[in-house]
Symmetry: none
Subunit: 399 residues, 2 copies
């Protein structure tokens, strides 16, 4: 299928099923230069679905590079107040939001001073975390293939072939090759609902991760609830926040995490590539970060605020994941986090715990997922009595 | 010079001289897909000049097309409130603003229903007019060459040659080929300041235009003040609102214009090409419009409102204009209006007359510049006593 046709198909899925855009809604789209084809297809699909207005914002990492090179150090954490006010207005408006992920210029900031890079979190805007927590916006994120991203993922192919291959694999991961992609996603969500249901009945006190270079115990809160990508707004409107999504996840106890965890895939954060990451936590807090590249930038990021060095999310992914089955490293969290099990430093999800424990969930301006799973990982549940129950072994559910 | 180098030079001129960006300022940049090279160069120049933050907004006319094709007719004049709030916040902030002009997709809306197109004024935002009037933002507009615009201007060249040629001519018009472009503009402004000063001392009662097919007298208001592109913010910060700018201009008495005027260049308005335009005015009002093409559309436009058929601006351009010397029709007002003397039907400039006469300046939803100048035009000032004083003869100042 031509890229334009795949973009149209992905846009339809994002609008009709992912964000579940309703007639009369304002639809926010976050894009980047180079993502015009999909952004326009999303706008077209949204207007066809009855959108009142489609508001596309475009973040250019080249402009961020110029800032990091030349702006006064003291100004690097400045965010224009209208960025956050727009997000809060979208929330009041009951708008929809569609994010186009995928690194356009994956290595553009690699040569810069990591301490400076760590001070500028844009395009991440703190108000989005609040609005996501309040569930006032029906949103989704979908990957958008671009030329440079394709060359990062498939460096041995020529540019055209790399972009073809990336589109093909993204289409596979998003189940665009199914006759009825929304139905395929509904079926997959049904299977994850069952697993989440069993875990929610068991109410484990902690998770134990074991694998090469990994031996970590993460405490759960008494009301930590296992969720999957079937969300609803406060008013009940269903939406699927990530396409693809293959995970079940919850927010852990930010005060209890001890051990070492080794990332099994590289990760890209705002233009910085982090490879061979190893993180040690004590009493829930990161005490050591090592990486063969990008470690310094990550260490700087973890000083953003009090919650940046604590866990906000734990997520489990089985081997039915289409992302995992491909074996491709995409350098895009949306895809890579759905390949294998992962954990995230930084902001957690108040909605993933009981109302009485909202305040215990980790809060931060950052949220960084990193992958810890794969066929060599074993995740067990630990009961309050100390009993260990295998949950995920060799990519298969054991419960 | 390579396009990237010309973009760097134009960006420096826009930042350091045009907007006159000050250390610590927030700098707003309005751009479109396809203008990334110049937008990034502007961001780089602004951060080098000490900007606190560069906020690039990108308007995509393809998204507007999707809206015009599919959205409910009732919603077409909706503008998200955060668009205007951002502009007012920039004003409170004392920000700088740099607009990148030039049509990216000059004919993308041509096949759509003009009644629907007319209801959506974006990317124009009403709050900008207020902020420009309040003089709280130091701003400029510069032309940004793009591929499709180049093919519109130079249809006989191949795409690469057309873009080369457009960059070359834009560079020439913006005086980028001078060793010190800001100094060249300062010198040019100095000459226009002298002419405007003389005209402001003389306080002519009217202007008389004479040339082939042209014999028109336009009344001036007692406080009509001749202006040129040397503006200042309320706090006195100098900026140059248009680059290039070759004109001196004011707003005339909308009740006094009699005679016939023949346009010396084709004019494009909303996808309609108007050729060989001849307009007759009586008592300040257009009573006859003839053209070899596009006359019907213009006559319809002049029925928009009461002020549409009266004059809002008179502007004089001498033959030192670099735009005029090239003889190219750019289909971009920023360039074309600076080629030769012109007058505009529709909205006038209250700031170009004394406060006591603000209410006398013409008001309209339209503002259509058309070119009346050239080497065969003579413009004279007419005193209250009826004496005629040559101002501009054969493209040369006579005062």
């Amino acid at each position: 299928m031509r890229h334009e046709d795949l973009a149209t198909r992905l846009a339809e899925l994002a609008v009709r099923f992912g964000a579940n855009v309703q007639p009369g809604q304002v639809v926010s789209v976050s894009s980047e230069p180079g993502k015009e084809t999909l952004a326009r297809a999303v706008a077209e699909a949204a207007y066809r679905a009855g959108a009142r207005f489609v508001d596309v914002t475009t973040f250019d990492v080249h402009v961020k590079r110029a800032r990091l090179l030349h702006a006064d150090e003291d100004t690097l954490d400045y965010v224009p107040p209208w960025y956050g006010e727009r997000v809060l207005a979208l929330s009041r408006e009951g708008a929809a939001h569609i994010a186009l992920t995928g690194p356009v210029e994956p290595q553009l900031l690699n040569d810069l001073d990591p301490a400076r890079v760590g001070r500028d979190n844009l395009p991440s805007i703190a108000e989005w975390a609040r609005v996501v927590g309040e569930r006032t916006v029906n949103w989704t994120a979908v990957p958008c293939p671009t030329a440079q991203w394709a060359l990062l993922v498939f460096p041995d192919l020529d540019p055209a072939a790399a972009l073809d291959r990336l589109w093909e694999e993204v289409a596979r991961c998003c189940r665009l090759d199914e006759p009825d992609p929304p139905a395929a996603w509904a079926a997959r969500m049904g299977r994850l609902r069952r697993v989440a249901g069993v875990l929610n009945e068991r109410r484990f006190d902690a998770l134990h991760y074991e694998g090469p270079g990994t031996d970590l115990t993460v405490g759960l809160l008494p009301t930590s609830e296992w969720l999957f990508a079937e969300f609803s707004r406060v008013d009940g409107l269903r939406h699927m926040p990530n396409i693809p999504s293959e995970e079940i996840f919850t927010s852990p106890d930010p005060a209890r995490a001890d051990g070492v965890i080794r990332s099994t895939k590289p990760l890209v954060r705002a233009g910085t590539l982090i490879r061979d990451l190893e993180v040690e936590l004590r009493g829930g807090r990161v005490v050591r970060v090592e990486a063969s590249s990008g470690g310094e930038a990550l260490r700087a990021t973890l000083e953003t605020d009090e919650g940046a060095a604590r866990l906000g999310e734990v997520a489990l992914v089985d081997s039915d994941s289409r992302v995992g089955a491909l074996g491709t490293v995409f350098y895009d969290t949306l895809l890579d986090e759905n390949a294998v099990s992962h954990i995230a430093l930084g902001n957690g999800f108040p909605f993933a715990v009981g109302a009485n424990e909202h305040e215990r969930v980790n809060r931060s301006a950052i949220h960084i997922d990193f992958m810890v799973g794969g066929d060599e990982l074993t995740v067990s549940g630990v009961t309050a009595a100390g009993e260990r129950v295998p949950i995920l072994v060799g990519g298969r559910w054991r419960i």
